[in-house]
Each structure stands twice: as C-alpha cells, then as structure tokens.
Amino acid sequence: METSIYSVIAFYLLAITIVGNAALVVFAKNIVHSVLFLAVTFISMAGLFLLLDADFIAAIQVLVYAGAVCIMVVFGIMLIQAPDMKGTNLFNTQLFAGGGVVALVFAMCAILAGRTAWTDLVATQAVPENTIQVIGTLLMSKYVIPFEVVAILLLVALVGAIVIARDDAGTVAVDEGVKANAHD
C-alpha cells in the first residue's frame, strides 16, 4: 500500500473538510447555506475517492452530486420557501435525545472498527491503473441485469416525480394561500 506522506496529509485535510462541512450542513440556520456546504462536502468527497484510486467514481460524484443533486435541491427550496430565508433550517425539540442516540451509534461503530483485525483481510494487489475500462466492461457483462434495472428505476423515478409534483386543479387555491401568507 502507498505510504507516501502526501497521501496521509491529503487524507487528513480532506477528512477535516468533509466532516466540518457536513457539520455546517446540519448546524447552518439558513437552508440555502446548508446546500452550499453540502456541495463543498460532495466535492471534497470526490477528492477522497481520487485518493482511493477510484477516478471514475470521483468524476460521477462531481457530476451527479455536486452538479445535479445540489442544483435540484436549490430549485426545490426556491419553489417551496418563503422569500425570507432566515431561520429556515432550525432544530426540533429532540436535539439532545437525538444527539445522545447518535453519539452511541458512532461510539459503537468506532469501537467495532478499531477492534476488527482488518490486516488479515487486506489484499496485496494494487488497483489497476485504468479503472474506467474495467468498470465499463463489468457493467456490460457481469452486472448487465442490475444496470438495466437501474435504468428502469431512473425512468420510473422521472415519470413518478413529474406525476407527483404536477398540480391538476389546485393552482388557484395555492395562489390564494400564498397571497394570504404574504399578507401576514
């Protein structure tokens, strides 16, 4: 395995960026700021995938998450939030109970990860240089049925999202409701 000091430094820098920005996503009070921090988290996660010799996954991460998902969430926020974005992302009343449960989950995962003897499992080979070629061949040969199922899933999701989000007759009622809210 690579033991270069640069990869160690890169891992810690990326880990700090990822965890810090993920915490900011949760603790930001404005939902739009949350989504911006989420984009930074996704892009630094792509850097972590590069460190793990997965360049195709890194490219897909930037394309799908930083490109498509973040923009889609911002569009959704613009469609449903009031013009004033202050305090749109607050906590509910379960803050301390949730924090306790999550701390327990993390402690359990960390202890189990520390106690497992990973060194017995680690393989000696390195990841091939050209990952895209191997992934493409595998997707079209060994994993062709999951690949097609995922294609159908995307089609269903596309049609379903349009059907759910389209309003048939309620436009007038919503306009009146929004006006009523604006007058408050």
Partner: protein, 104 residues
C-alpha cells in the same frame, strides 16, 4: 508508523453517517432531512470504495455497487423533492412537525 489504513476510512465514514443521522433526527425542515439522507448515503459510498481498494482491488465490486448507490440516491432526491412540493401545496408548510395527519 504514519499510514492511512482501512480503519481510518471506516471511522471517517461512521462519523459522517452519524452527522447525517443526527440531522435526520433533529431537523425541522423536510428538505434538510432529505439532504442529510444524502450525507448518509455518501458515507456508505466512502465505505464501499475503501473496501473495494483494500480488500477486492481486482474485482471492483465496491466501486460498481457505489455507482448503483449514487443512481438510486439521485432518483430518491427527485422523488423526495416531488413529494415535499406536493405536501407543501396541500399544507403550505415544510415543517415536519406539521405533518401529523397519521397521529391520533
């Protein structure tokens, strides 16, 4: 010795998953819950790619699986936002505490 082992990646992934879970449990805005679910799915992806590098470097199982996870997550965000927009149209709110129609 100063190296990065599999344990580092697993603990980073567990930390990220915990942050996402905390957001899912404690946030009030439905869109915030959706993006916290995305953080949790990404934590799982880090795990999958790390295991793929360290344990099955030739088979690429983890990398292919994480591709499928990314696809399903994208579909989930689309459907989730559509549902939130549909609920907002009916209740004029995205606060999850208002969605108590099933409570009695």
């Amino acid at each position: 010795m100063l190296t990065i082992s599999l344990t580092h990646y697993v603990i980073l992934s567990a930390l990220l998953f915990s942050i996402g879970l905390f957001g899912v449990i404690t946030k009030r805005n439905a869109v915030a819950v959706l993006i916290c679910i995305e953080i949790m799915l990404n934590a799982v992806n880090i795990n999958l790619v790390a295991f793929s590098k360290y344990i099955t470097p030739i088979d690429f199982t983890g990398q292919i699986f994480s591709l499928f996870v990314i696809t399903v997550a994208a579909a989930e965000v689309g459907i989730g936002l559509a549902i939130i927009i549909a609920i907002y149209r009916n209740k004029l709110s995205v606060n999850l505490d208002d969605f108590d129609l099933l409570k009695w």
